[in-house]
Symmetry: none
Subunit: 203 residues, 4 copies
Amino acid sequence: MAPIVSDEYKMKKKKQILDSALICFAEKGYQLATIDDIVQHSGISKGAIYNYFKSKEEIYIELMNENTKELDKDIQEVLQTYNTAPERVTRLFDLYLRNKPSESPGKEKFLVYYEFRLFSMRDEGLSDLLQERKKHIFIGNLVEILKEGQENGELSQDFNRELVANTFWSMIHGATLSTIIDKDFPYHEVLKNMKAMFISYLS
Amino acid sequence: MAPIVSDEYKMKKKKQILDSALICFAEKGYQLATIDDIVQHSGISKGAIYNYFKSKEEIYIELMNENTKELDKDIQEVLQTYNTAPERVTRLFDLYLRNKPSESPGKEKFLVYYEFRLFSMRDEGLSDLLQERKKHIFIGNLVEILKEGQENGELSQDFNRELVANTFWSMIHGATLSTIIDKDFPYHEVLKNMKAMFISYLS
Amino acid sequence: MAPIVSDEYKMKKKKQILDSALICFAEKGYQLATIDDIVQHSGISKGAIYNYFKSKEEIYIELMNENTKELDKDIQEVLQTYNTAPERVTRLFDLYLRNKPSESPGKEKFLVYYEFRLFSMRDEGLSDLLQERKKHIFIGNLVEILKEGQENGELSQDFNRELVANTFWSMIHGATLSTIIDKDFPYHEVLKNMKAMFISYLS
Amino acid sequence: MAPIVSDEYKMKKKKQILDSALICFAEKGYQLATIDDIVQHSGISKGAIYNYFKSKEEIYIELMNENTKELDKDIQEVLQTYNTAPERVTRLFDLYLRNKPSESPGKEKFLVYYEFRLFSMRDEGLSDLLQERKKHIFIGNLVEILKEGQENGELSQDFNRELVANTFWSMIHGATLSTIIDKDFPYHEVLKNMKAMFISYLS
DNA sequence: TATGAATGAGTGTTCATTCAT
DNA sequence: CATGAATGAACACTCATTCAT
């Protein structure tokens, strides 16, 4: 039976809901934001929302999946655009210098994202999934960059790649989180500082 | 009216409630943990809990205040025990190498703490208070250390102290958060890495 | 406007819906079965269903009407095939010995039927209609049989025909209901027992 | 810790809720009766109801358990008060001649009861429990009566006791159900008729 | 006619908070 | 001070019905 609306229409509708949900979750937090908030904000009826998502939690999770996909895309782009390891690491930092968790809408996005990450800790399946994903997208890619860098002599041979990759991402997390919770946090300067420290450490 | 029970008794009772609350909040998260959970876990009646705290949120906030106080005490201890800037910074790192957010009950404590920090973002008063407190306890103390270090030549003159202090704390946040959300995160190694990077940067 | 599709087509479609509805109502009960269940089971779209029936309740009622019609047909057949009163009563029992509410799909049919009968009690109009129908189809026919039987001396003169007819049907109801609610109920034996009791009582 | 209200108080409250629930279920049926209906009818708040019962279904089931208990008590009383088998069987019929499903509140009770019995068919555990209970309370007791009656020569040796017991109860069901669904059904006369048939069959 | 997306009133259930005992 | 029964606003989710295409 032919669908009465196009897939494109459905995607658009889903995106509409996700966009509104993000704003609502950012404003009140996932638990305190209600489906009615999303209804109000999106102008889409409650029933319609439940046609696209089977629960509030599914909206949350799908929202976060989108987020991860975007981030992954950004990272891939860096890998494809730049060739040397130092350049690539530099650009990864720049990704975050550009993303600006210090102002809307980046701030809200990150706030919701970190809340989600902590929230997900109580669901073993979810938490394992996210950990695995992180291991591939975040750590894996960076390890690969570092490996190539070490192999072709761009980088020092002295460091443990896994460790350094983990260090990189935890610095990013730290700078981002600090920005979210402290509106006076000098995000750019700190990140530049970290970038300098990190790059110098690699060489 | 003279108090019928001693202040000590009251403090003990409050502590009991806070301890149970921490465990409940860790297990389910603040929103999902119920007063009844705390009742069950603490063995203290619902009415009694409301004699000591005027709302669930107050329990949350007071719990976090306790946390901050403890941390402050730890920091003060470092300052009083050690004299040189490099030593002091080293010991601040060690504080976290000791605290171990990688295993219970430290993990739960940090989980609840970070959730609280994000939660607090929606209450301007609360968020300002915490920011201010942070500025004093975390940034202020460290800036003081760095200043002394620069003045007596222990540290390089090249850096902006505020910035470096912020960098320090955001690295700590990053490592801690990473540990909470990733059970395979090599917390100690990363922290040692950061410590090395950081100390070398200061000199 | 001339009908675009044949009446036969419409009847076939209606029957399809009713058949699916019966299965869905049997499975979950009228209230818990949803239109979507019927859609899923029948493969007919929601809109189409509402083209044939104006509400879920109408499906229910029409389904029961079908049921009554079938039963009526069965009874008429007995009346036309057999001539003496004892034979006819015997065959009425046999109708139920054959119908087997002890196994699918008879069981489901009876389950839905009795639920419907109880459900209908809250709608005075519906309940009156069904009562009237019963009085004619069930009681009326049997009274007629008994009357003829008494008049031509096949049966005892001693009994009140209305009463006996009511007794007959309530025994049938009892046996059927017992079978539905008790999977170990010895339906056939009980019914034979009743038949014996009843026939002997009539003579 | 001493309870703040007596057990008696709690029982009274529970009974209040059950009484109101019975009336609401009778009026609209279990599915259509809402908790708010019960709130309105009982004057007990929604929260309070959920302090006594954990779900609407639990109210339903407990209501039916009460019903069964009462019936069991009635049966036991017959057994203890009367000694001979014919007398006992007579009195079991009388129980139902007295119970009057033809008028309120007996009618409502039976309506709800039969709806429950049919409803319960979709829950295997529940349905098995009820079947088992029936086997003991209803069939078991009657079989015992019949056995004693046969052994001391009060009753005919010719019949299968289990079968007869099942026949008895299905006649009762039939008469009761007929009364519920047909307001003109001559309940008393039919039951007396059945009693006569049944007793004569036993001798 | 057929389709299935949209609607929104309605439901069972939860839970922070209160307060009589 | 302690207790836990009572309260009721709030919420996620459902589903019969409608209607634009």
